[in-house]
């Protein structure tokens, strides 16, 4: 029986993953190869982070040998953004990546990398599957040493003269990130999408008032609630927000919350290509940001 309505046990899949330092990265490859038949693992290795990720690389190499999975390592430089963008394009453009045979493990993949994959997959007119494993626990902070926020190539929207800027942030546990985005873009309006639910101490760690306090005196703030784990509902809520704001604002959207919110954002971007997608490149991450892996993955098809 197929492990999910989106996957088939008759297909040998290319699994595309980013080498991370979290346990989830290695465990994700292991679990996925137990759920479906993986013939090839395309592993993106950001050279900038090798000091953190090399131990997982060794484990993944051993796993691939043991499971007879062909391993293709693609080395990228996170700081050389334009090169990384082209390399992601090349991965998708490779003839081996065909309609329905490739699956992205988005669990530890940077949001901008997910968006870039979706872009090139759509360009080639193929559908990418995705698999997402939640961790068991999150650490107390995610990242430090951020660089300037950036708009994603080809997703910088269509800004109109005469409109003010609205920034939609799907918030996460890190209040500093909210503050950084607001300081950088100086939007007239900031709309904070607050994640619902009690998972991972969400209600203690993602507090609406605290995010609002970060914006105090810099921008007008409004809120909406969202559940990023329900992709369809999240897209619908975002779509409503964007429709409401679009006549008056140039909109920039950022995902700082659950990884899956990046997929909903892309879904909405396809309906509203006028919006810009932004992300914050970061140099340092918390090595113990997450621990463990949830045994029940979320599987789906990326927006096509």
């Amino acid at each position: 029986m197929a492990p999910s309505t989106f996957l088939s046990n008759k297909i040998k899949y290319n699994l595309i993953s980013v080498l991370g330092w979290e346990e989830r990265c290695y465990l994700g490859v292991m679990k996925t190869s137990g759920i479906i038949s993986v013939s090839k693992l395309v592993l993106l290795v950001f050279k900038d982070y090798l000091k953190y990720t090399s131990s997982n690389l060794g484990r993944i190499k051993e796993l691939c040998l043991e499971k007879r999975i062909e391993l293709q390592i693609v080395e990228l430089s996170y700081s050389r953004t334009a090169d990384a963008w082209s390399q992601i394009g090349s991965i998708i453009e490779h003839p081996a990546v065909k309609k329905e045979n490739s699956i992205l493990d988005v669990s530890t993949m940077p949001r901008e990398t997910i968006w870039s994959f979706i872009f090139f997959a759509r360009k080639k007119n193929i559908e990418l599957r995705f698999i997402y494993f939640k961790p068991l626990h999150y650490g107390d902070w995610l990242c430090k040493e951020p660089d300037k926020p950036r708009l994603l190539y080809k997703h910088s929207g269509v800004a109109e003269f005469g409109k003010s800027t609205a920034l939609i942030i799907l918030t996460g546990f890190d209040y500093d990130r909210t503050s950084q985005l607001v300081r950088f873009y100086e939007p007239s309006l900031t709309v904070l999408g607050i994640q619902k639910g009690i998972q991972f101490d969400n209600q203690q760690r993602n507090i609406q008032d605290q995010h609002a306090a970060e914006c105090k005196g810099q921008t007008t703030v409004s809120f909406f609630e969202i559940d990023a784990y329900d992709l369809r509902a999240a897209s619908a809520i975002l779509d409503d927000q964007i429709k409401r704001l679009k006549p008056d604002y140039n909109i920039i959207v950022s995902s700082l919350g659950p990884k899956l919110s990046a997929i909903s954002i892309y879904d909405v971007f396809l309906t509203h290509p006028e919006i810009a997608l932004t992300y914050v490149p970061t140099k340092e991450y918390n090595l113990s940001y997450s621990t463990g892996i949830d045994l029940e993955p979320i599987i789906g098809i990326l927006p096509a």
Binding site: W141, L151, L152, A159, D174, G217, T220
Partner: protein, 574 residues
């Protein structure tokens, strides 16, 4: 009740609010409204945007209307904020340099033309002025650009629509997933803005107009656009237009041009610093601060009193300060039995406040910081720093008295509490620099803390020592050519970005050379029990001593014997 001290970004204020809030500084207005190219530099919160907006055509015109006087149309300031999604686009990184230049200039030229056309239309006189020229100018424009303008609108309106459409078409093309092609139909300042400017000047109402293109936050432009703007600035003929470019600092903006040359201060442009050196309540900034607070009290609370009454000083502190002054006066008379009044006054000026701080018991809490003058001194000459403690005080006063009770003054105990809170928060902000200041590493964050902590220790040692200038809080860096300065530079840059440190250019008293003066954000001082009221004096510290303080957490050497008679103290490298 709205907190009257809310700091709202100028770009989010309505025209009326700008007119209500802005306290005109004629020194700046004179520069902004001149026909010279001007660079206006100042960190965030120093009022650059407000200054540009206040002198922009939109506001100047409204000001004239409100006063019932005719607007002359001689100086027309077009405000062009660069913090927009259009400017933040990065697709230029995917194409070759030459094309990146073209697309960057194309966006900027369309943007400038849009702001020009839409702003001019806001004047009542414009429609009539163009009545007989609309069709001729439209034909001329269509001929030059080989484009079609909207047939049923005026010249300016159809130009506005044209650039709106052009910018949308360009972005769609650039972002098209199936197109790696370049957008070939690009415009430049020369091919688009200048011809339109000449057409506008052919209309009698604007024939004598000088256009001021006010590029706000120009450090946010990409490197190609910065070089393009500099090339425009290098353009010699400034009879019809000039640029007013607001930037945070030279560190964030390069002065090179597209052709590889550079523009030079004094020759191509004049530089104006928006951060005022703050010396006393009688200084330009001191007067402006009084006006800013006074106007907000009147607008929001209907209070027509002076700010000193709204922010009264703690009577005990006032009394203790008076006692310290008397003690110092007595000491001065002993020291200079035949002293001139100037000698006596100078001595009291130098030592009276130090005497107050020294006379406080070692076990006493922090001094009860309060009073409007203290608040102004804490601002370090930056408007945002002026409003921050006031906002906190008002918030606390509201919580204490209940939301609906009228607040007619801020009790001194609340002032002290708010100042302590704001100061503590400022120190705490250093802990998260590596999480929210771009380019700051964790190590640099630690260095900044060490540096500031050691500077605070030095200031405290000086305040409590019997030296010539105990309250000096500004410093300059000697031996700046050393390797230590190069390493120090990156952390100074981050501290500046985080507004923990202010750097100002001034003339050195000793040798007349231009020198950089550094000053901690004075909001940091109360948490360490220091005096925010500085004095006319500078401490000279070696770059190597500062670097050791930052990187090795070594105390900055302080040797009382090194004190010179002129008040400058040389702290030797160990």
């Amino acid at each position: 009740m709205r907190n009257p001290f809310e700091f709202e970004a100028a770009s989010n204020l309505s025209d009326e609010e700008i007119l209500d809030f802005y306290i005109e500084d004629h020194n700046f207005s004179r520069f902004i409204l001149s026909s010279r190219n001007i660079f206006l530099s100042g960190e965030r919160g120093t009022g650059k945007t407000m200054t540009l907006l206040y002198n922009s055509f939109r506001i100047e015109y409204r000001k004239a209307k409100n006063l019932g006087i005719p607007f002359t149309f001689e100086k027309i300031g077009i405000h062009i904020p660069c913090k927009t999604p259009l400017i933040y686009k990065k697709e230029f990184e995917l194409i070759a340099d030459f094309r990146a230049f073209l697309i960057g200039e194309h966006y900027l030229s369309l943007y400038i033309l849009h702001e020009l056309a839409s702003n001019l239309q806001s004047a009542d006189e414009t429609e009539t002025a163009f009545e007989n020229s609309n069709e001729t100018l439209k034909t001329e424009f269509e001929y030059i650009t080989s484009s079609k303008l909207h047939p049923s609108h005026s010249f300016l309106k159809s130009i506005e629509l044209f650039v709106k459409k052009e910018v949308i078409d360009t972005q769609r093309k650039v972002n098209d997933q199936n197109s790696d092609e370049f957008y070939y139909n690009t415009y430049s300042f020369n091919s688009l803005v200048l011809p339109v400017l000449r057409m506008i000047k052919s209309v009698k109402l604007f024939s004598k107009s000088h256009f001021l293109f006010m590029l706000d936050d120009a450090h946010d432009l990409n490197s190609y656009q910065i070089q393009t703007v500099n090339s425009w600035i290098a353009y010699r003929d400034h009879s019809d237009f000039s640029f007013k470019v607001a930037i945070t600092s030279d560190r964030e903006y390069s002065f090179t041009t597209a052709s590889g040359g550079s523009i030079i201060e004094g020759h191509d442009f004049t530089k104006v610093e928006r951060e005022n050196p703050y010396r006393s309540s009688g200084s330009d900034f001191g007067k402006m601060a009084r006006d800013i607070i006074g106007r907000r009290l009147k607008l929001y609370l209907g209070i027509d009193e002076n700010p000193e009454s709204f922010f009264p000083i703690n009577p005990e502190m006032e009394e203790d300060l008076a006692t310290a002054k008397n003690i110092t006066l007595a000491k001065a008379k002993l020291k200079f039995p035949k002293g001139t009044p100037k000698q006596i006054n100078d001595y009291v000026y130098k030592y009276a406040r130090a005497e107050y701080f020294r006379s406080r018991s070692g076990k006493a809490n922090l001094p009860p910081y309060s009073g409007f003058d203290t608040i102004v001194q804490l601002s370090t000459g930056v408007i945002r720093n002026l409003l921050t403690p006031c906002y906190e005080m008002f918030d606390m006063a509201m919580s204490e008295s209940g939301d609906n009770k009228k607040i007619d003054h801020i009790p001194w105990h609340i002032q002290s509490k708010a100042i302590e809170k704001v100061s503590k928060r400022k120190w705490e902000s250093i802990n998260s620099l590596h999480r929210n200041v771009e380019g700051c590493s964790e190590l640099q964050k630690e260095y900044i803390y060490n540096l500031f902590n050691n500077l605070a220790i030095l200031l405290r040692q000086r305040l409590y020592s019997d030296i010539s200038e105990p309250r000096a809080i500004k410093f300059k860096i000697s031996d700046a050519s050393r390797d230590a300065m190069r390493r120090l530079d990156s952390i100074i840059n981050i501290a500046q970005k985080a507004q923990l440190l202010y750097v100002r250019l001034g003339r050195d008293k000793d040798n007349g050379e231009n020198t950089l003066y550094y000053e901690l954000n004075r909001l940091l001082l109360p948490d360490r029990g220091l005096d925010p009221v500085g004095q006319h004096s500078t401490i000279s510290i070696r770059a190597s001593a500062l670097w050791n303080a930052a990187s090795k957490d070594k105390k900055i050497p302080f040797d009382k014997l090194e004190v010179k008679q002129n008040g400058t103290i040389n702290i030797p490298f160990e």
